[in-house]
Structures are given as C-alpha cells and as structure tokens.
Subunit: 346 residues, 2 copies
C-alpha cells in the first residue's frame, strides 16, 4: 500500500500556478487539485502544454490529478480536507471578492495550511483575520512563467522560491514553521529545485518590493518595458531610483536594517537589456485587468510614512495608480461617473 | 485711398490660431497671412468652416487674405515686413525645430512684434534671446476652439485674452507696451471682444498654471477627463489639489503674492461636470503628439525649487511626463533603444 498523498489545492493557474502544480505533481508526494477557470474546457480536452527551462520543451497534454472549475466546497461536497491551499491569484484587496472570499469554501478550519504565493506587503493580514487557526505560509517566487492561450505556459526562468511561516495568533510558531517546512518537502522532495526555507519573510518581501514598487509601478503608468527605462536614463533618475531609496528607507524604519546603500544600483540591473520585458502589473493594465497596487505600493507607503519616512515619489505614484485602477473599475462596470445636471459632485 | 492695413502673420492654425485669424480679419485693420500646413489643399479649395459661439454657426468658405503653406522668408521673397507675428503652435522646446527656428524667416529684426499665444512659464526666454530687438508680446487665451478635419473649427467658448509685453533687453519698456496695445487695437478695434491689456503677465501665467500644471498633466498621465477626476474624489485629493498648492507656493516664492489660499477649490471646479472634457495635453498624447511639458511643468517646478519650495508631487509628475514624451520621440523616430549584447547602457 502506497503512502497517502498530501492533498494540495492550487487556486490560480496562470504561469506561476501551473508551474507550481506541475512541480508538486512531479515531486510524487502531492495529489493536486487545480482550479482552472478561464481555460477549463480547453485543459479538460487537451491538457496543458509547457515549454520549460527546467522540465524541457514540448510537454503536451499534461493534467493535474483533479481539474475543477470552481473552488470546491469541502464541507458541502464532503471532501477530505486539503492539507495545503496554494494561492497564486492576483491580490486585489480593494476589489471584491478578496482572496479570503475566494478560498473560504476549501479551507478546513484549524487544518488546511494556506500558502500565499503573491507579491507585496501585509498580504497575510486579512487571511490571518479570516482563518486565525490555520497556518499561513509565505512564498516569494522568482520564477519566470507566462500563460498563453488555451492552456499553454512558457516557463523561461527557473522555479526559485523562499518559503516561510507568517505569524498567526492561533497557530504556535513552531507549528507554523513545521507547516512551511512540510510544504517545502512536498514541493521539492528530491531537492532538485531552489526552494528554500526563509526565516525572515518580512525582509524577503521588502527586498522584492525594491523592484516591484519601482519598476512594476512605473512600467504600469508609462506602459513601458524595463530595458527602455534603463536606456532612457532619466526615467531611472527621476523615478526608479528615488522610489527604490524610499522603499529601502521604509524597510529600515520597519526593522529591515541590512539592506545595502548600493542595492538600487543592483536592482536597477535586474532585467536583461536585450528583451523588452514588461513587469506583471504593466501586463495586467494592458490586458484591462485590475492591478495589485495596495500590497505593492499602498502598504509599503503606509508602513514607511507611519514611521515618519518621506516617500514623496511613491506617494504620487500611488495616487496615479489609484486613478488607473478607477478606470479599470469603470470598464468592468464597478464605477459609474454621473454626467448630469443634478450631479452630486459639486 | 484706404489706410494701409497692419500686416499680421499667423503661425499655427489649429482652433486658437484660426479663430484669431478670423477675429483679426473681422476687425478690418489687419491683413492676415495664415500659415496652413496640414490642411493647406482643403482650405485653398473650400475655405474654412466654423461653428462659433461668437460669430454664429454655419460659417462656410472663409479664408484669410493670404494662405501660405510654409512660414514665408521675408528677405528672400522680398516681402514687406510683418508688423505682428502671432504664434499659436505648440511650444516644445525639448524638440527641434523650436518656436524661434520656425518663425525666424518671417521676422524682420527690430520691426516685427512677436505675439506668443501659448501656455506656460518662460516661453519668451529663447525667443527674446534670438530676437533681442523685437517686441515680444504675451497672449494668455481662454478661448475654447477645437480643430476638426479639413479646415473645420468648433469655437465653443468666447475669445478672451490677456495681452501684455514681455520684458526684452533691446526694446524700451514703453515701446514694448505700445506694441502690445497696438496689437489689442488691431485685434479688437470695436471693443466687442474681451481682449484686455495685462500689466502683470507673469501673474496671469502663474495663475493659469494652477489649472494646467495639475489637471492638464494628470489628464495626460491618466488619459482621463476632468469631470471624472472630480467625481473620483481621490484623484483630486491625491494629485490635483497637492499640485495646485505646490504651484501657488512656487508663484508666491517668485513674487506673485496675491493668490488666495482657497484658489485651488475654485480652479478644481473650472470645467463643467456634464461633459467629458480632456485638456489639451491629454488630447495631444492621445493623438501621438508631443506634449508641452517644459513650460507647463518643468519651468514652474524649476522656479519653485530654485526658491526652496517643496514640489514633490509635481516633481514626480514631471518625471512621468518626460517618460511619456520619450515614447512619443520613439514613435517619431527621434529616439531608438538599442536591444543588443553590446548595449552601452549597463
């Protein structure tokens, strides 16, 4: 009799979610259920096609063990509990439904560990509040994986993750840490992938924000790739480097003290110059999707300013991004301007 | 024998330029030569059509006395000098040719008075440097006039202007003032229009910037009309009002001391709420045109910061606008990024 497999639900099967589902299944210890919304029919029929820098090109017809169209309701459907719920959907707390709303039907209180593989700061706060007795795990991912149409994924940068526990009042620190380590073991049982335990996830998240709050935000506003920004010179000088310095100052004021002064110069050179790469939020705005501004910009701004740090560049950028978000809201029918004589906006 | 008419050259025949040419010709004292570039053939054949809030709807087949395709070279073509050269083209000092380059062939040194009907601060500086012995006149216009295709103009807000002399080292103050007053007389000989002499053009220009540096800039970045911004609430709070306050502080630091504290609340309500009006720079960026960022944003920013005023919002906005201008440059072949291995931008 084989050992019973760890039940993992993957919510969000874009590039990152699909490659995580693939890795989990490959590892042999997990039984993966994937929620596939937009491509459900195509994936059911033909499976998923992958060209992968790590698993090889030309993978065809791959399917996770279970494919479902919506987040399952474990209580109503009388399912065994999920051990892990991996969340890779965008985090847009300013728009309903929130992450907690989406996963709630699949969460067995006190049992399922929730892995948040999303960018930004304080993403765990509403989830901890909703599920105070479940372990909440942070995954900061550096993978490059992009979803095409009909279940195709291009995986062009290796799957690297830093994984560690968020602090949760209802879960002892040791249990939270064990949950994170168990997830790493299930994800990477043979140690082939660069998936490491992270004892300081707050530092890791601030560190990644140095790139995301700057390049991701400005790419979104200008609809411009990162190499063009570097080649301009002035976009780096006027916007990117000032934001990076503000974020580093905010991180330091919030206890992340070991970020080097010359870190901006390293992060400015993160992306290669030979290809016109646009960060995720820029891709989202160009597709007409909501943008992840609250955890990538709003939260670091509030944390910095609460500690008295001047973050003038990021403050203005945040205002612009909120304006862009409003346009997305209007396009989705969630905001309606009133052009009439009895307009209340006088 | 009739009195000899004042020779006026109009450079730039968009909405404002066309309505100025019309007013000058209507007044009866001017002989107008209009430089018409894009619509030359259409206007030559069919004239200009105008629907005007002041002159009536359905004006058809109107033509200024002379229509030319390019700025005339008075020396080479042996033309009598122009008394006035009215400039209504966009002011993009960061791109060649500049305003001075464009008008130079038509300027008779020491004779032609140059009327700059353009927005922003310090627009006269390069013109004064190039033509130090010619009177330079400021026109700040509040007209609403928009050019359609094939020589059609919709004139929907009355022609109101404040006109006064710029200070020019080679022209005595009294002569400069007389030139401005002569222009007013030629433009508005019967006193029907609200065209007034302005003894404090610097104040007038700073005052207009309160709107333009804020609404015009943010509309350009967000590609959003002004009523939607007002209805959002947060765009006003995050961006528009902060910029207005910064510009007022900069104006005060530069000697324009009589701007009221509550002026932002008035200027915020400038545009009506029933129609989705987009300011000029926003219209330009949507058409793929260069944007007038240096005189509307760059100059007030530099003047304010030189006097020690904190202008954090406008500084970031300026950086974003420079990024947008770069994209227009690239689209017109004036900037080319280099995506190659031996890239100099490391």
């Amino acid at each position: 009799m084989t050992q019973e497999k760890t039940r993992v639900l993957v919510v969000g099967t874009g590039g990152v979610g699909t490659m995580s589902a693939y890795a989990l299944q490959q590892g042999g210890k997990a039984e993966v259920t994937a929620v596939i919304r937009s491509n459900y029919e195509a994936v059911l029929k033909n499976g998923i096609s992958i060209d992968s820098v790590q698993y090889g090109d030309g993978i065809k017809g791959w399917r996770p063990t279970h494919i479902v169209k919506a987040v399952p309701n474990v209580a109503q459907e009388n399912l065994p509990p999920f051990d892990f719920i991996l969340v890779t959907i965008k985090n847009i707390p300013d728009i309903s439904p929130t992450v907690s709303d989406v996963i709630e039907p699949a969460v067995t209180p006190g049992k399922s560990a929730i892995v948040l593989s999303q960018n930004g700061l304080n993403i765990e706060k509403p989830v901890v509040a909703r599920f105070p007795n479940n372990p909440i795990i942070s995954s900061v991912s550096y993978i490059g994986a992009m979803q095409g149409t009909d279940g195709y994924v291009l995986h062009d940068d290796p799957d690297e993750q830093k994984i560690g526990p968020f602090s949760t009042p209802g879960v002892p620190a040791q249990a939270a840490e064990e949950a994170a380590k168990r997830y790493i073991d299930v994800y990477n049982p043979h140690g082939k992938l660069d998936i490491i335990f992270d004892a300081d996830i707050r530092r890791t998240r601030w560190r990644k924000l140095i790139y995301n709050a700057s390049y991701n935000s400005i790419a979104t506003i200008l609809r411009l790739d990162t190499p063009r920004m570097r080649m301009s010179g002035h976009i780096i000088d006027d916007l990117i480097r000032p934001i990076m310095r503000e974020v580093i100052a905010a991180a330091r004021a919030n206890g992340v003290t070991d970020l080097a002064d010359d870190l901006p110069e390293t992060v400015i050179r993160t992306d290669p110059l030979h290809t016109a790469f646009k960060p995720s939020m820029c891709q989202d705005i160009e597709k007409g999707n909501f943008i992840e501004i609250e955890n990538i910009v709003g939260e670091p701004l509030r944390e910095g300013e609460d500690k008295g740090v001047s973050m003038h560049t990021l403050r203005t950028v945040y205002g612009v991004l909120r304006g862009l978000q409003l346009k997305v809201k209007e396009s989705k029918g969630l905001w309606e301007p009133k052009f009439s004589a009895d307009n209340p906006y006088q």
